[in-house]
Symmetry: C2
Subunit: 342 residues, 2 copies
DNA sequence: TGGCATAGTGTATACGCTTACTTTATTCCA
DNA sequence: TGGAATAAAGTAAGCGTATACACTATGCCA
């Protein structure tokens, strides 16, 4: 069928192993032979079969991506394309390909990962999220399979290379920023509570609230899915309170979009009636109206560093795990203002 | 190292081939043996090695994705995540994984595809775009490698399964819509002219203009990249004309975002001073201010059908190529209005 | 000139699985 | 009861590459 190493060997009048060594650019092959073999390869249009190579080699030159939910949902949030952009940049530099398995349920996703790992379809994995007691993460650790995490692992963080923002600090500072604008009733709209990022930011928020001597009210804390719908739900709950917040710290831009649209429907003006500060600074956050004030967490870099760390893990397995902290930066736009006098 | 088919065979006291047949659920194995083997597999935690399987099998259960430019750029446009969402949905249903190779230059991307194909890394390919005289497409045809195209192939369209909107008709109808609002100076902001989608829509635009007896002016036609920056460039050019358009047909929402932001900076009001109608109806197009009137081309379905068609190609190679036309629909929002009296 | 490095290449096997071909066991009919 | 037909499982040969080990030829020195 297709041309193999043997065909090349025959044409170049050498042994298959010599061809293999030419491909690997082995220094023990003379320049003359290399040239001869390369000519034969060109002439035949030879390309190594990757499966055969992987099999003999135990390496696939591919890295696996694990998303928190079905790719179906995840791709609705620009966070993921952007993070993949970062990953693919470095993957490409080192000639790795990306491999995604998908699934709808927890179980399906888990099975997909097991297939990736046991089936040796990839050399390592980037986890695109960090969750409390995550089955997949435990599994990867048990198997001692190379992986890195975007976000802070819930446990064993010292032994797992991970890339993260300082979410505690970020949330604290942002809450303080809102407080400095005169807000005293600040709501927190978080994602699922089993995501470590939600927890960290919530704790940062709490810290700032307590430091400022403000009351920490449970009814100001809402948790929803990382989607527009989540944001919409959240606002409805918060506005139904008898003493609704004057400012919201929202954990994700897409949720903020939902918040904005619902507030708009309800005739609540942003930032006059209520201020909004969110996280991620997704490409489109400047396009909403009003444009979103948002914390740029450098998503691209999170992906880039995660993949870079993974490739290091793969190439030098003895190397110690490390933590990379990606800086954040508040991008002030139009959704925050001083609290309006009561 | 890891547990192989032989280990299972030994434990179950059968031959390796029997285990293999159990995996493939071959009817020639008795239920009793199947049970025995399955127990052994569970006990050992056996998972087939995919590389070995692919090698013996000549199939990989993976489909390759080819993007028009570096993934880096492409992922800035929500079109791609959305299309991948569609692809991944059906891929998952049939237990296929997705495989992406990336590259920065034309050559790198081409090389990546060659590696996918010759290296037998994937069973088939979905081309996420269609371009005039595309090297990759020619290559795939030469190699008789299974692939499908999102968009209309520039040539040999009859022999290539492809999924497309009727872009000619869509653009024509949309232009007619703008004309019906009283616009006579209508600009066209297209993407790169070597993309078939640009050509088709431009032709539809032209048809409508000519049908209406309006002058077809070259200076109203601008071509830029499918990015925000592209839209920004385009507006600048168009507004510099002595008789600038009163309405714009923009080929892509992200470009429209760029158009909007630039118009905003220039103090030009949309839709009062200039109307804007664009394509794609990306998730966030309703969030801009004013919210975008846009043609919903059903991106998800484009992806879904493309992957479905590909799997059919892979499974029954004799089957004839087909064309799937995905319907479009105008979503009216806030960027189009009747022409303001001069 | 014999002996020994050393550079360059070939041989053979392993990687883990599939599958065509064979063999063995069982059934059933004349 | 012999033997054909059928069912069930085993044997062994790939799939295309990598690599440990073996071998040859050359050069150099004593």
């Amino acid at each position: 069928m297709s041309v193999t190493i043997k065909d090349v060997a025959k044409l170049a009048d050498v042994a298959p192993s010599t061809v293999s060594r030419v491909i690997a650019n082995n220094p023990r092959i003379s320049e003359k032979t290399k040239r001869k073999v390369k000519e034969a390869m060109d002439y035949l249009g030879y390309h190594p079969n990757f499966n055969a190579r992987s099999l003999a080699n135990r390496s696939t030159q591919a890295i696996g991506l694990v998303m928190p939910s079905s790719a179906d949902k995840a791709f609705q949030n620009p966070f993921f394309p952007e993070v993949i952009r970062g990953i693919s940049t470095i993957a490409h530099e080192q000639e790795y390909a990306l491999y995604m398995s998908t699934g709808n349920t927890e179980d399906e996703i888990f099975e997909g990962v097991v297939r990736m790992v046991q089936g040796r379809r990839v050399d390592g994995i980037v986890m695109l999220y960090s969750r409390v007691d995550d089955r997949i993460m435990c599994y990867l650790q048990e198997q001692k399979f190379p992986f890195t995490v975007i976000g802070k692992p819930f446990k064993n963080a010292e032994s797992i290379t991970h890339i993260d923002n300082d979410n505690f600090k970020a949330a604290q500072e942002m809450t303080e920023y809102l407080i400095s604008l005169g807000h005293e009733r600040i709501g927190f709209v978080g994602g699922n509570l089993n995501l470590v990022v939600t927890i960290d930011r919530l704790l940062g928020y709490e810290k700032a609230i307590r430091n400022a001597g403000l009351p920490y009210k449970d009814e100001y804390i809402v948790h929803e899915e990382f989607l527009k719908e989540g944001g919409q739900e959240a606002v409805k709950e918060l506005l139904a309170l008898k003493d609704p917040p004057s400012a919201l710290l929202v954990i994700d831009d897409v949720m903020s979009f939902g918040v904005l649209s619902t507030l708009n429907e309800l005739g609540v003006s942003v930032p006059d009636d209520i201020s909004l500060l969110s996280f991620n600074n997704v490409m489109l956050s400047e396009l909403s109206s009003p444009s979103l004030s948002s914390v740029d967490i450098n998503i691209f870099k999170l992906g880039y560093e995660a993949a870079k760390g993974l490739l290091e893990c793969i190439q030098c397995p003895e190397k110690e795990a490390k933590r990379v902290v990606v800086p954040f930066q508040l991008i002030e736009r139009q959704t925050c203002s001083k609290v309006s006098g009561k």
